[in-house]
Protein backbone atom coordinates (compact mmCIF):
# COMPACT_ATOMS: atom_id res chain seq x y z
CA UNK A 1 0.00 0.00 0.00
CA UNK A 2 2.50 2.55 -1.08
CA UNK A 3 3.66 4.46 -4.11
CA UNK A 4 6.81 2.91 -5.56
CA UNK A 5 8.78 4.27 -8.49
CA UNK A 6 11.71 2.14 -9.63
CA UNK A 7 14.54 2.94 -11.98
CA UNK A 8 12.67 5.72 -13.83
CA UNK A 9 14.37 6.92 -17.01
CA UNK A 10 13.10 9.77 -19.15
CA UNK A 11 14.77 11.27 -22.21
CA UNK A 12 13.93 14.48 -24.01
CA UNK A 13 15.49 13.80 -27.39
CA UNK A 14 19.14 13.02 -26.67
CA UNK A 15 19.16 14.59 -23.24
CA UNK A 16 18.51 12.20 -20.38
CA UNK A 17 16.34 14.06 -17.91
CA UNK A 18 16.14 11.18 -15.45
CA UNK A 19 18.76 8.44 -15.19
CA UNK A 20 17.28 5.62 -13.19
CA UNK A 21 15.60 7.38 -10.27
CA UNK A 22 13.45 5.60 -7.72
CA UNK A 23 11.58 6.42 -4.55
CA UNK A 24 8.99 4.98 -2.21
CA UNK A 25 6.25 7.14 -0.74
CA UNK A 26 4.28 5.78 2.19
CA UNK A 27 0.67 6.53 3.10
CA UNK A 28 0.43 8.68 6.21
CA UNK A 29 3.45 10.68 5.12
CA UNK A 30 4.24 13.75 3.07
CA UNK A 31 7.03 12.88 0.67
CA UNK A 32 8.80 15.78 -1.01
CA UNK A 33 10.95 15.90 -4.12
CA UNK A 34 13.42 18.78 -4.09
CA UNK A 35 16.32 19.81 -6.27
CA UNK A 36 17.62 22.68 -8.37
CA UNK A 37 15.95 23.88 -11.56
CA UNK A 38 16.25 21.29 -14.30
CA UNK A 39 17.16 18.50 -11.90
CA UNK A 40 14.19 16.41 -13.05
CA UNK A 41 11.76 16.99 -10.16
CA UNK A 42 8.69 17.68 -12.28
CA UNK A 43 9.81 15.10 -14.84
CA UNK A 44 9.82 12.47 -12.09
CA UNK A 45 6.29 13.45 -11.07
CA UNK A 46 5.31 13.45 -14.75
CA UNK A 47 6.54 9.89 -15.09
CA UNK A 48 4.80 8.79 -11.90
CA UNK A 49 1.53 10.28 -13.16
CA UNK A 50 2.12 8.79 -16.65
CA UNK A 51 1.90 12.26 -18.20
CA UNK A 52 5.02 11.57 -20.24
CA UNK A 53 6.74 8.56 -21.74
CA UNK A 54 9.18 6.85 -19.38
CA UNK A 55 11.03 3.62 -18.80
CA UNK A 56 10.90 1.94 -15.44
CA UNK A 57 8.15 0.80 -13.14
CA UNK A 58 5.58 2.67 -11.09
CA UNK A 59 3.19 0.92 -8.75
CA UNK A 60 0.42 2.34 -6.62
CA UNK A 61 -1.11 0.41 -3.72
CA UNK A 62 0.57 -2.72 -5.01
CA UNK A 63 -0.69 -2.47 -8.60
CA UNK A 64 1.34 -1.62 -11.65
CA UNK A 65 0.16 1.78 -12.87
CA UNK A 66 0.63 0.91 -16.54
CA UNK A 67 -1.95 -1.85 -16.30
CA UNK A 68 -4.58 0.34 -14.65
CA UNK A 69 -7.37 2.10 -16.56
CA UNK A 70 -7.52 5.90 -16.35
CA UNK A 71 -10.69 5.78 -14.24
CA UNK A 72 -9.19 3.21 -11.85
CA UNK A 73 -6.22 5.50 -11.31
CA UNK A 74 -8.45 8.56 -10.97
CA UNK A 75 -10.30 6.86 -8.13
CA UNK A 76 -7.17 6.51 -6.00
CA UNK A 77 -4.95 9.40 -6.94
CA UNK A 78 -5.38 13.03 -7.93
CA UNK A 79 -2.77 15.19 -9.63
CA UNK A 80 -2.26 18.93 -9.22
CA UNK A 81 -0.41 20.35 -12.25
CA UNK A 82 1.93 23.33 -12.00
CA UNK A 83 -0.29 25.64 -14.00
CA UNK A 84 -3.67 25.22 -15.59
CA UNK A 85 -5.10 27.06 -18.55
CA UNK A 86 -8.79 26.67 -18.91
CA UNK A 87 -10.22 26.59 -22.42
CA UNK A 88 -13.72 27.82 -21.60
CA UNK A 89 -15.25 30.23 -19.06
CA UNK A 90 -16.18 27.68 -16.39
CA UNK A 91 -16.98 29.01 -12.91
CA UNK A 92 -14.80 27.98 -9.99
CA UNK A 93 -17.39 25.56 -8.59
CA UNK A 94 -17.89 24.02 -12.04
CA UNK A 95 -14.15 23.37 -12.29
CA UNK A 96 -14.16 21.66 -8.90
CA UNK A 97 -17.14 19.55 -9.96
CA UNK A 98 -15.28 18.41 -13.07
CA UNK A 99 -12.76 16.84 -10.71
CA UNK A 100 -15.62 15.06 -9.03
CA UNK A 101 -17.21 13.60 -12.16
CA UNK A 102 -14.77 10.74 -12.20
CA UNK A 103 -13.96 10.49 -8.50
CA UNK A 104 -15.88 8.22 -6.16
CA UNK A 105 -17.49 11.15 -4.34
CA UNK A 106 -19.69 11.78 -7.38
CA UNK A 107 -22.85 11.12 -5.40
CA UNK A 108 -21.93 13.68 -2.74
CA UNK A 109 -22.87 17.08 -4.16
CA UNK A 110 -21.68 18.91 -1.04
CA UNK A 111 -18.05 17.89 -1.52
CA UNK A 112 -17.02 20.59 -4.08
CA UNK A 113 -18.20 23.39 -1.81
CA UNK A 114 -16.44 21.84 1.17
CA UNK A 115 -13.27 21.49 -0.87
CA UNK A 116 -13.46 25.16 -1.87
CA UNK A 117 -14.02 26.13 1.77
CA UNK A 118 -10.98 24.04 2.69
CA UNK A 119 -8.75 26.20 0.48
CA UNK A 120 -10.53 29.39 1.56
CA UNK A 121 -12.30 30.10 -1.72
CA UNK A 122 -15.92 29.31 -0.86
CA UNK A 123 -16.96 32.90 -1.56
CA UNK A 124 -15.47 32.70 -5.08
CA UNK A 125 -17.50 29.67 -6.09
CA UNK A 126 -19.54 31.43 -8.76
CA UNK A 127 -16.80 33.57 -10.27
CA UNK A 128 -15.37 32.47 -13.58
CA UNK A 129 -12.07 30.68 -13.22
CA UNK A 130 -10.31 33.12 -15.55
CA UNK A 131 -11.02 36.00 -13.16
CA UNK A 132 -8.90 34.44 -10.42
CA UNK A 133 -5.35 35.57 -9.67
CA UNK A 134 -2.53 33.08 -10.15
CA UNK A 135 -2.52 32.09 -6.49
CA UNK A 136 -6.30 31.79 -6.31
CA UNK A 137 -6.35 29.64 -9.45
CA UNK A 138 -3.74 27.36 -7.89
CA UNK A 139 -5.86 26.96 -4.75
CA UNK A 140 -9.02 26.40 -6.81
CA UNK A 141 -7.22 23.62 -8.66
CA UNK A 142 -6.14 22.18 -5.31
CA UNK A 143 -9.81 22.17 -4.31
CA UNK A 144 -10.62 20.24 -7.49
CA UNK A 145 -7.88 17.73 -6.69
CA UNK A 146 -9.05 17.40 -3.08
CA UNK A 147 -12.63 16.82 -4.19
CA UNK A 148 -11.46 14.00 -6.45
CA UNK A 149 -9.95 12.06 -3.54
CA UNK A 150 -12.01 13.61 -0.75
CA UNK A 151 -11.67 10.71 1.67
CA UNK A 152 -7.93 10.05 2.31
CA UNK A 153 -8.71 6.38 2.88
CA UNK A 154 -11.42 4.48 1.05
CA UNK A 155 -12.20 0.75 1.20
CA UNK A 156 -9.12 0.33 3.38
CA UNK A 157 -6.90 1.73 0.63
CA UNK A 158 -4.96 4.95 0.96
CA UNK A 159 -5.53 7.57 -1.73
CA UNK A 160 -2.88 9.84 -3.08
CA UNK A 161 -2.31 13.51 -3.71
CA UNK A 162 0.43 14.15 -6.28
CA UNK A 163 1.28 17.84 -6.23
CA UNK A 164 3.59 19.65 -8.63
CA UNK A 165 4.90 22.74 -6.81
CA UNK A 166 1.63 23.33 -4.97
CA UNK A 167 2.75 26.58 -3.33
CA UNK A 168 4.76 28.14 -6.15
CA UNK A 169 2.53 31.20 -6.65
CA UNK A 170 1.15 31.60 -3.14
CA UNK A 171 1.79 34.17 -0.42
CA UNK A 172 3.27 32.90 2.85
CA UNK A 173 -0.06 32.52 4.65
CA UNK A 174 -1.50 30.42 1.85
CA UNK A 175 1.75 28.46 1.52
CA UNK A 176 1.30 27.39 5.11
CA UNK A 177 -2.42 26.73 4.56
CA UNK A 178 -1.78 24.47 1.58
CA UNK A 179 1.01 22.59 3.33
CA UNK A 180 -1.29 22.09 6.34
CA UNK A 181 -3.91 20.64 4.00
CA UNK A 182 -1.34 18.25 2.56
CA UNK A 183 -0.16 17.21 6.00
CA UNK A 184 -3.73 16.73 7.27
CA UNK A 185 -4.46 14.52 4.26
CA UNK A 186 -1.44 12.40 5.14
CA UNK A 187 -2.24 12.29 8.87
CA UNK A 188 -5.70 10.98 7.95
CA UNK A 189 -4.08 8.03 6.20
CA UNK A 190 -3.64 9.29 2.65
CA UNK A 191 -0.35 9.66 0.84
CA UNK A 192 1.14 12.91 -0.45
CA UNK A 193 3.95 13.26 -2.96
CA UNK A 194 4.89 16.85 -3.70
CA UNK A 195 7.49 18.52 -5.86
CA UNK A 196 8.78 21.37 -3.70
CA UNK A 197 10.85 24.44 -4.43
CA UNK A 198 11.02 25.86 -0.94
CA UNK A 199 13.50 23.97 1.25
CA UNK A 200 12.23 25.50 4.49
CA UNK A 201 8.62 24.50 3.86
CA UNK A 202 9.94 21.08 2.91
CA UNK A 203 11.82 20.83 6.20
CA UNK A 204 8.70 21.93 8.11
CA UNK A 205 6.14 19.68 6.48
CA UNK A 206 7.79 16.73 4.74
CA UNK A 207 8.27 13.40 6.46
CA UNK A 208 10.62 12.18 3.77
CA UNK A 209 12.63 14.04 1.16
CA UNK A 210 14.20 12.97 -2.12
CA UNK A 211 16.93 15.31 -3.34
CA UNK A 212 17.46 15.23 -7.10
CA UNK A 213 20.33 16.75 -9.01
CA UNK A 214 21.12 16.40 -12.69
CA UNK A 215 18.63 13.57 -13.28
CA UNK A 216 19.84 11.44 -10.39
CA UNK A 217 18.76 10.93 -6.82
CA UNK A 218 21.36 12.37 -4.50
CA UNK A 219 19.71 11.49 -1.19
CA UNK A 220 16.49 10.13 0.26
CA UNK A 221 15.42 10.20 3.90
CA UNK A 222 13.93 12.33 6.65
CA UNK A 223 14.52 16.11 6.39
CA UNK A 224 17.09 15.90 9.20
CA UNK A 225 19.01 13.18 7.36
CA UNK A 226 18.84 14.73 3.93
CA UNK A 227 18.86 18.49 4.37
CA UNK A 228 22.54 18.73 5.29
CA UNK A 229 25.24 21.21 4.31
CA UNK A 230 26.98 18.61 2.18
CA UNK A 231 23.99 17.22 0.25
CA UNK A 232 22.40 20.60 -0.44
CA UNK A 233 25.66 22.26 -1.41
CA UNK A 234 26.32 19.44 -3.86
CA UNK A 235 22.77 19.46 -5.23
CA UNK A 236 22.48 23.19 -5.72
CA UNK A 237 26.09 23.90 -6.61
CA UNK A 238 26.59 26.60 -4.01
CA UNK A 239 27.78 26.53 -0.42
CA UNK A 240 24.71 26.30 1.81
CA UNK A 241 24.65 26.23 5.58
CA UNK A 242 21.80 24.39 7.28
CA UNK A 243 20.74 25.56 10.74
CA UNK A 244 18.17 24.16 13.14
CA UNK A 245 15.38 25.81 15.10
CA UNK A 246 16.16 25.45 18.79
CA UNK A 247 13.36 23.37 20.38
CA UNK A 248 12.38 20.91 17.63
CA UNK A 249 15.54 20.80 15.58
CA UNK A 250 13.73 21.43 12.29
CA UNK A 251 16.38 22.33 9.74
CA UNK A 252 16.24 25.70 8.00
CA UNK A 253 18.32 27.32 5.32
CA UNK A 254 19.02 31.04 5.23
CA UNK A 255 20.04 32.40 1.84
CA UNK A 256 22.06 34.98 3.82
CA UNK A 257 24.41 32.22 4.90
CA UNK A 258 24.99 30.91 1.39
CA UNK A 259 28.10 31.62 -0.64
CA UNK A 260 28.68 30.79 -4.25
Amino acid sequence: MSLIAENIRVSYGKREALRGVGLTALPGEVTAIVGPNGSGKSTLLGAITASLAYQGRVSLNGRCVERMKPWELAAIRAVLPQASRLAFPFTVIEVVRIGLQSGTAGDRPEVPMQALARVGLAHYAHRTFQELSGGEAQRAMLARVLAQVWAPVEDGQPRWLLLDEPVSSLDIAHQLQVMEIARDFARAGGGVLAVMHDLNLTALYADRVAVLADGERLAFGTPAEVLTDETLSRAYGCALRVSATPPSGVPFILPHAASA
Binding site: L73, A75, P81, R85, L86, A87, I93, I98, Q114
Partner: protein, 355 residues
Protein backbone atom coordinates in the same frame (compact mmCIF):
# COMPACT_ATOMS: atom_id res chain seq x y z
CA UNK B 1 -18.31 27.59 9.22
CA UNK B 2 -21.79 29.08 9.66
CA UNK B 3 -21.38 30.74 6.29
CA UNK B 4 -20.57 27.43 4.66
CA UNK B 5 -24.04 25.95 5.17
CA UNK B 6 -25.54 29.05 3.52
CA UNK B 7 -23.27 28.69 0.54
CA UNK B 8 -24.13 25.03 0.10
CA UNK B 9 -27.75 25.93 -0.52
CA UNK B 10 -26.93 28.21 -3.47
CA UNK B 11 -28.53 26.60 -6.52
CA UNK B 12 -26.35 25.61 -9.42
CA UNK B 13 -27.36 28.71 -11.38
CA UNK B 14 -26.04 27.90 -14.79
CA UNK B 15 -26.83 24.20 -14.64
CA UNK B 16 -30.47 25.01 -13.90
CA UNK B 17 -30.52 27.57 -16.68
CA UNK B 18 -29.02 25.09 -19.15
CA UNK B 19 -31.69 22.53 -18.30
CA UNK B 20 -34.48 25.11 -18.66
CA UNK B 21 -32.90 26.00 -21.97
CA UNK B 22 -33.38 22.42 -23.22
CA UNK B 23 -37.14 22.90 -23.01
CA UNK B 24 -37.17 26.46 -24.28
CA UNK B 25 -35.10 25.52 -27.32
CA UNK B 26 -37.16 22.40 -27.98
CA UNK B 27 -40.26 24.62 -27.95
CA UNK B 28 -38.62 27.12 -30.27
CA UNK B 29 -37.67 24.30 -32.64
CA UNK B 30 -41.25 23.01 -32.79
CA UNK B 31 -42.60 26.52 -33.41
CA UNK B 32 -40.11 27.20 -36.18
CA UNK B 33 -40.95 23.85 -37.78
CA UNK B 34 -44.61 24.90 -38.01
CA UNK B 35 -43.60 28.33 -39.30
CA UNK B 36 -41.36 26.73 -41.91
CA UNK B 37 -44.23 24.55 -43.18
CA UNK B 38 -46.51 27.57 -43.22
CA UNK B 39 -44.64 29.83 -45.61
CA UNK B 40 -43.13 29.35 -49.03
CA UNK B 41 -43.15 30.44 -52.64
CA UNK B 42 -46.77 29.32 -53.21
CA UNK B 43 -49.83 30.60 -51.32
CA UNK B 44 -50.31 27.14 -49.83
CA UNK B 45 -50.15 27.44 -46.04
CA UNK B 46 -50.09 24.85 -43.31
CA UNK B 47 -52.95 26.52 -41.46
CA UNK B 48 -55.37 26.35 -44.40
CA UNK B 49 -54.38 22.73 -45.01
CA UNK B 50 -54.94 21.84 -41.34
CA UNK B 51 -58.28 23.63 -41.39
CA UNK B 52 -59.29 21.59 -44.45
CA UNK B 53 -58.28 18.34 -42.75
CA UNK B 54 -60.21 19.23 -39.60
CA UNK B 55 -63.36 19.89 -41.68
CA UNK B 56 -62.98 16.49 -43.33
CA UNK B 57 -61.99 17.87 -46.74
CA UNK B 58 -59.22 16.28 -48.75
CA UNK B 59 -56.09 18.15 -49.78
CA UNK B 60 -55.64 19.11 -53.42
CA UNK B 61 -52.88 17.52 -55.46
CA UNK B 62 -50.84 20.75 -55.34
CA UNK B 63 -51.20 21.03 -51.61
CA UNK B 64 -50.08 17.45 -51.11
CA UNK B 65 -47.03 17.91 -53.32
CA UNK B 66 -46.08 21.19 -51.65
CA UNK B 67 -46.45 19.77 -48.17
CA UNK B 68 -45.10 16.24 -48.50
CA UNK B 69 -42.61 16.46 -51.37
CA UNK B 70 -41.27 20.00 -51.02
CA UNK B 71 -41.65 21.52 -47.59
CA UNK B 72 -41.44 18.45 -45.33
CA UNK B 73 -38.22 16.98 -46.80
CA UNK B 74 -36.72 20.45 -46.83
CA UNK B 75 -37.70 20.93 -43.19
CA UNK B 76 -36.28 17.52 -42.24
CA UNK B 77 -33.04 18.31 -44.01
CA UNK B 78 -32.85 21.73 -42.35
CA UNK B 79 -33.29 20.17 -38.91
CA UNK B 80 -30.68 17.48 -39.61
CA UNK B 81 -28.10 19.79 -41.17
CA UNK B 82 -28.55 22.59 -38.63
CA UNK B 83 -28.19 20.18 -35.71
CA UNK B 84 -25.21 18.44 -37.36
CA UNK B 85 -23.33 21.69 -38.03
CA UNK B 86 -23.92 23.11 -34.54
CA UNK B 87 -23.09 19.89 -32.67
CA UNK B 88 -19.97 19.20 -34.71
CA UNK B 89 -18.88 22.81 -34.09
CA UNK B 90 -19.38 22.47 -30.34
CA UNK B 91 -17.64 19.08 -30.24
CA UNK B 92 -14.72 20.26 -32.35
CA UNK B 93 -14.25 23.35 -30.16
CA UNK B 94 -14.20 21.08 -27.13
CA UNK B 95 -11.73 18.69 -28.74
CA UNK B 96 -9.43 21.49 -29.81
CA UNK B 97 -9.89 23.36 -26.53
CA UNK B 98 -10.46 26.42 -28.66
CA UNK B 99 -13.76 28.28 -28.87
CA UNK B 100 -12.91 29.37 -32.42
CA UNK B 101 -12.31 25.90 -33.87
CA UNK B 102 -14.82 24.74 -36.45
CA UNK B 103 -15.02 21.69 -38.74
CA UNK B 104 -14.40 24.09 -41.62
CA UNK B 105 -11.01 24.94 -40.11
CA UNK B 106 -9.60 21.39 -39.93
CA UNK B 107 -10.21 20.76 -43.61
CA UNK B 108 -13.22 18.45 -43.28
CA UNK B 109 -15.44 20.97 -45.01
CA UNK B 110 -12.85 21.69 -47.70
CA UNK B 111 -12.29 17.97 -48.29
CA UNK B 112 -16.01 17.39 -48.65
CA UNK B 113 -16.16 20.37 -51.01
CA UNK B 114 -13.40 18.93 -53.17
CA UNK B 115 -15.33 15.67 -53.41
CA UNK B 116 -18.47 17.49 -54.50
CA UNK B 117 -16.66 19.58 -57.11
CA UNK B 118 -14.94 16.48 -58.48
CA UNK B 119 -18.35 14.89 -58.92
CA UNK B 120 -19.87 17.95 -60.58
CA UNK B 121 -17.02 18.60 -63.01
CA UNK B 122 -15.71 15.11 -63.77
CA UNK B 123 -18.84 13.11 -63.00
CA UNK B 124 -19.84 13.05 -66.69
CA UNK B 125 -16.66 11.14 -67.51
CA UNK B 126 -17.76 8.19 -65.40
CA UNK B 127 -19.09 5.08 -67.18
CA UNK B 128 -22.79 5.35 -67.96
CA UNK B 129 -23.83 2.47 -65.72
CA UNK B 130 -22.20 4.14 -62.73
CA UNK B 131 -23.94 7.45 -63.47
CA UNK B 132 -27.26 5.63 -63.72
CA UNK B 133 -26.58 3.82 -60.47
CA UNK B 134 -25.69 6.88 -58.42
CA UNK B 135 -28.17 9.25 -60.07
CA UNK B 136 -28.47 12.56 -58.23
CA UNK B 137 -26.66 11.01 -55.26
CA UNK B 138 -23.28 11.23 -56.97
CA UNK B 139 -22.38 14.71 -55.69
CA UNK B 140 -23.43 14.19 -52.08
CA UNK B 141 -21.74 10.82 -51.97
CA UNK B 142 -18.48 12.20 -53.36
CA UNK B 143 -18.60 15.12 -50.90
CA UNK B 144 -19.12 12.69 -48.07
CA UNK B 145 -16.13 10.58 -49.19
CA UNK B 146 -13.97 13.69 -49.49
CA UNK B 147 -14.83 14.68 -45.93
CA UNK B 148 -13.98 11.25 -44.59
CA UNK B 149 -10.78 11.02 -46.62
CA UNK B 150 -9.47 14.34 -45.41
CA UNK B 151 -10.29 13.46 -41.81
CA UNK B 152 -8.41 10.17 -42.04
CA UNK B 153 -5.42 11.86 -43.69
CA UNK B 154 -5.50 14.59 -41.08
CA UNK B 155 -5.57 12.02 -38.33
CA UNK B 156 -2.61 10.10 -39.83
CA UNK B 157 -0.54 13.28 -40.10
CA UNK B 158 -1.21 14.57 -36.60
CA UNK B 159 -1.26 11.34 -34.58
CA UNK B 160 1.94 9.68 -33.44
CA UNK B 161 2.21 6.82 -30.98
CA UNK B 162 -1.49 7.09 -30.26
CA UNK B 163 -1.31 10.73 -29.28
CA UNK B 164 -2.91 13.53 -31.25
CA UNK B 165 -1.33 16.94 -31.00
CA UNK B 166 -4.04 19.54 -31.24
CA UNK B 167 -1.60 22.14 -32.58
CA UNK B 168 -0.30 19.83 -35.31
CA UNK B 169 -3.85 18.92 -36.20
CA UNK B 170 -4.92 22.54 -36.54
CA UNK B 171 -1.92 23.36 -38.73
CA UNK B 172 -2.36 20.20 -40.78
CA UNK B 173 -6.01 21.14 -41.18
CA UNK B 174 -5.05 24.53 -42.55
CA UNK B 175 -2.65 22.91 -45.03
CA UNK B 176 -5.25 20.32 -46.05
CA UNK B 177 -7.86 23.01 -46.49
CA UNK B 178 -5.51 25.01 -48.69
CA UNK B 179 -4.65 21.94 -50.76
CA UNK B 180 -8.30 20.97 -51.21
CA UNK B 181 -9.07 24.58 -52.08
CA UNK B 182 -6.31 24.68 -54.70
CA UNK B 183 -7.44 21.42 -56.31
CA UNK B 184 -11.01 22.70 -56.29
CA UNK B 185 -9.76 25.88 -57.98
CA UNK B 186 -8.16 23.88 -60.80
CA UNK B 187 -11.42 21.99 -61.31
CA UNK B 188 -13.41 25.23 -61.35
CA UNK B 189 -11.00 26.52 -64.01
CA UNK B 190 -11.73 23.59 -66.34
CA UNK B 191 -15.47 23.53 -65.64
CA UNK B 192 -17.93 24.59 -68.34
CA UNK B 193 -20.62 27.23 -67.84
CA UNK B 194 -23.40 24.93 -66.62
CA UNK B 195 -21.04 23.23 -64.22
CA UNK B 196 -19.85 26.61 -62.93
CA UNK B 197 -23.42 27.59 -62.15
CA UNK B 198 -23.97 24.30 -60.27
CA UNK B 199 -20.72 24.80 -58.41
CA UNK B 200 -21.58 28.33 -57.38
CA UNK B 201 -24.94 27.28 -55.96
CA UNK B 202 -23.53 24.24 -54.22
CA UNK B 203 -20.66 26.25 -52.73
CA UNK B 204 -22.93 28.95 -51.31
CA UNK B 205 -24.91 26.32 -49.53
CA UNK B 206 -28.59 25.66 -49.97
CA UNK B 207 -31.39 23.42 -48.83
CA UNK B 208 -33.13 24.00 -52.17
CA UNK B 209 -32.29 20.55 -53.51
CA UNK B 210 -33.88 18.81 -50.55
CA UNK B 211 -35.58 15.51 -51.27
CA UNK B 212 -36.55 12.50 -49.23
CA UNK B 213 -33.75 10.61 -50.97
CA UNK B 214 -31.17 13.09 -49.64
CA UNK B 215 -32.77 13.09 -46.21
CA UNK B 216 -32.50 9.31 -46.06
CA UNK B 217 -28.97 9.37 -47.46
CA UNK B 218 -27.59 11.82 -44.90
CA UNK B 219 -30.00 11.29 -42.01
CA UNK B 220 -28.72 8.05 -40.47
CA UNK B 221 -25.11 9.24 -40.56
CA UNK B 222 -26.02 12.60 -39.02
CA UNK B 223 -28.20 11.07 -36.29
CA UNK B 224 -25.50 8.54 -35.43
CA UNK B 225 -22.81 11.23 -35.30
CA UNK B 226 -24.95 13.50 -33.12
CA UNK B 227 -25.80 10.60 -30.83
CA UNK B 228 -22.12 9.78 -30.38
CA UNK B 229 -21.27 13.46 -29.83
CA UNK B 230 -23.84 13.73 -27.04
CA UNK B 231 -21.92 11.09 -25.07
CA UNK B 232 -18.74 13.18 -25.13
CA UNK B 233 -19.92 15.85 -22.67
CA UNK B 234 -18.08 14.62 -19.59
CA UNK B 235 -14.89 13.93 -21.51
CA UNK B 236 -14.88 17.33 -23.20
CA UNK B 237 -15.36 19.04 -19.82
CA UNK B 238 -12.29 17.21 -18.56
CA UNK B 239 -10.35 18.09 -21.69
CA UNK B 240 -11.05 21.78 -21.02
CA UNK B 241 -8.62 21.44 -18.09
CA UNK B 242 -5.89 20.17 -20.42
CA UNK B 243 -5.06 16.78 -21.88
CA UNK B 244 -2.91 15.67 -18.94
CA UNK B 245 -5.49 16.69 -16.35
CA UNK B 246 -8.28 15.04 -18.34
CA UNK B 247 -6.34 11.79 -18.15
CA UNK B 248 -5.70 12.31 -14.43
CA UNK B 249 -9.40 12.63 -13.68
CA UNK B 250 -10.03 9.31 -15.38
CA UNK B 251 -10.82 10.07 -19.00
CA UNK B 252 -9.46 7.83 -21.73
CA UNK B 253 -8.30 10.86 -23.68
CA UNK B 254 -7.06 9.14 -26.83
CA UNK B 255 -10.23 7.13 -27.24
CA UNK B 256 -12.41 10.14 -26.56
CA UNK B 257 -10.52 12.22 -29.11
CA UNK B 258 -10.69 9.64 -31.89
CA UNK B 259 -14.39 9.03 -31.21
CA UNK B 260 -15.02 12.76 -31.25
CA UNK B 261 -13.10 13.30 -34.48
CA UNK B 262 -15.01 10.52 -36.23
CA UNK B 263 -18.34 11.88 -35.04
CA UNK B 264 -17.45 15.39 -36.16
CA UNK B 265 -16.27 14.15 -39.56
CA UNK B 266 -19.43 12.11 -40.02
CA UNK B 267 -21.79 14.94 -39.14
CA UNK B 268 -19.91 17.57 -41.13
CA UNK B 269 -19.31 15.37 -44.17
CA UNK B 270 -22.96 14.32 -44.41
CA UNK B 271 -24.20 17.86 -43.83
CA UNK B 272 -21.86 19.44 -46.39
CA UNK B 273 -22.73 16.65 -48.82
CA UNK B 274 -26.43 17.47 -48.95
CA UNK B 275 -26.33 21.21 -48.35
CA UNK B 276 -22.98 22.62 -49.50
CA UNK B 277 -21.07 25.17 -47.50
CA UNK B 278 -23.38 26.57 -44.85
CA UNK B 279 -21.14 28.59 -42.59
CA UNK B 280 -21.24 30.14 -39.12
CA UNK B 281 -23.84 27.81 -37.58
CA UNK B 282 -21.07 25.65 -36.11
CA UNK B 283 -19.26 28.57 -34.59
CA UNK B 284 -22.02 31.01 -33.60
CA UNK B 285 -24.46 28.57 -31.97
CA UNK B 286 -22.03 27.17 -29.36
CA UNK B 287 -20.83 30.71 -28.57
CA UNK B 288 -24.33 32.01 -27.95
CA UNK B 289 -25.10 29.01 -25.74
CA UNK B 290 -21.91 29.45 -23.72
CA UNK B 291 -22.89 33.06 -23.09
CA UNK B 292 -26.39 32.01 -22.04
CA UNK B 293 -25.75 28.98 -19.88
CA UNK B 294 -22.04 28.35 -19.52
CA UNK B 295 -19.61 25.98 -21.20
CA UNK B 296 -20.66 22.66 -19.61
CA UNK B 297 -20.59 20.27 -22.57
CA UNK B 298 -23.06 17.87 -20.97
CA UNK B 299 -25.83 20.39 -21.68
CA UNK B 300 -24.11 22.42 -24.39
CA UNK B 301 -24.10 19.65 -27.01
CA UNK B 302 -27.83 18.92 -26.81
CA UNK B 303 -28.69 22.62 -26.71
CA UNK B 304 -26.46 23.17 -29.74
CA UNK B 305 -28.40 20.54 -31.68
CA UNK B 306 -31.71 22.24 -30.82
CA UNK B 307 -30.56 25.81 -31.45
CA UNK B 308 -28.64 24.87 -34.61
CA UNK B 309 -31.71 23.20 -36.10
CA UNK B 310 -33.93 26.15 -35.14
CA UNK B 311 -31.60 28.78 -36.55
CA UNK B 312 -31.06 26.94 -39.81
CA UNK B 313 -34.81 26.53 -40.34
CA UNK B 314 -35.35 30.23 -39.67
CA UNK B 315 -32.48 31.15 -41.99
CA UNK B 316 -34.01 28.90 -44.65
CA UNK B 317 -37.37 30.65 -44.25
CA UNK B 318 -35.68 34.00 -44.78
CA UNK B 319 -33.85 32.58 -47.81
CA UNK B 320 -37.14 31.39 -49.33
CA UNK B 321 -39.21 34.49 -48.59
CA UNK B 322 -37.09 37.62 -49.20
CA UNK B 323 -36.89 37.39 -52.99
CA UNK B 324 -39.78 34.92 -53.59
CA UNK B 325 -40.52 33.21 -55.92
CA UNK B 326 -36.74 33.00 -56.39
CA UNK B 327 -34.67 32.14 -53.34
CA UNK B 328 -31.33 33.02 -51.83
CA UNK B 329 -28.76 30.33 -51.11
CA UNK B 330 -29.01 29.79 -47.35
CA UNK B 331 -25.24 30.15 -46.92
CA UNK B 332 -25.65 33.83 -47.76
CA UNK B 333 -28.30 34.24 -45.06
CA UNK B 334 -26.27 32.47 -42.36
CA UNK B 335 -23.17 34.47 -43.31
CA UNK B 336 -25.01 37.81 -43.30
CA UNK B 337 -26.61 37.05 -39.93
CA UNK B 338 -23.80 34.97 -38.45
CA UNK B 339 -20.66 36.90 -39.36
CA UNK B 340 -21.65 40.09 -37.49
CA UNK B 341 -22.66 38.03 -34.45
CA UNK B 342 -19.30 36.29 -34.61
CA UNK B 343 -17.44 39.61 -34.86
CA UNK B 344 -19.48 40.96 -31.96
CA UNK B 345 -18.50 37.96 -29.85
CA UNK B 346 -14.85 38.52 -30.76
CA UNK B 347 -15.02 42.19 -29.78
CA UNK B 348 -16.69 41.37 -26.50
CA UNK B 349 -14.41 38.54 -25.51
CA UNK B 350 -11.06 39.18 -27.08
CA UNK B 351 -9.41 37.03 -24.44
CA UNK B 352 -10.86 33.95 -26.13
CA UNK B 353 -8.61 34.39 -29.14
CA UNK B 354 -5.47 34.13 -27.08
CA UNK B 355 -6.21 30.64 -25.84
Amino acid sequence: MAALSDIETIPHHRETRANTLHWALAGALVLSCFASLQVGATDVTLSTMLAKLIHGETLSQIERVVLFDIRLPRLAMGVLVGAALAVSGAAMQGLFRNPLADPGIVGVGAGAGLGAILAIVLGTLLPAWLIDLTGNQLTPFAAFLGGWGSTILLYRVSTRHGRTSVATMLLAGIALGALAGALSGILVYIADDTQLRDLTFWGLGSLAGASWAKVFAAGPMILLAIGVSLTLGRGLNGLALGEATAAHIGIDVQRMKSTGILAVAGATGAAVAVSGGIGFIGIVVPHLLRLASGPDHRTLLLNAALLGATLLILADMIARVVIAPAELPIGIVTAVLGAPVFLWILLKRRGLVEL
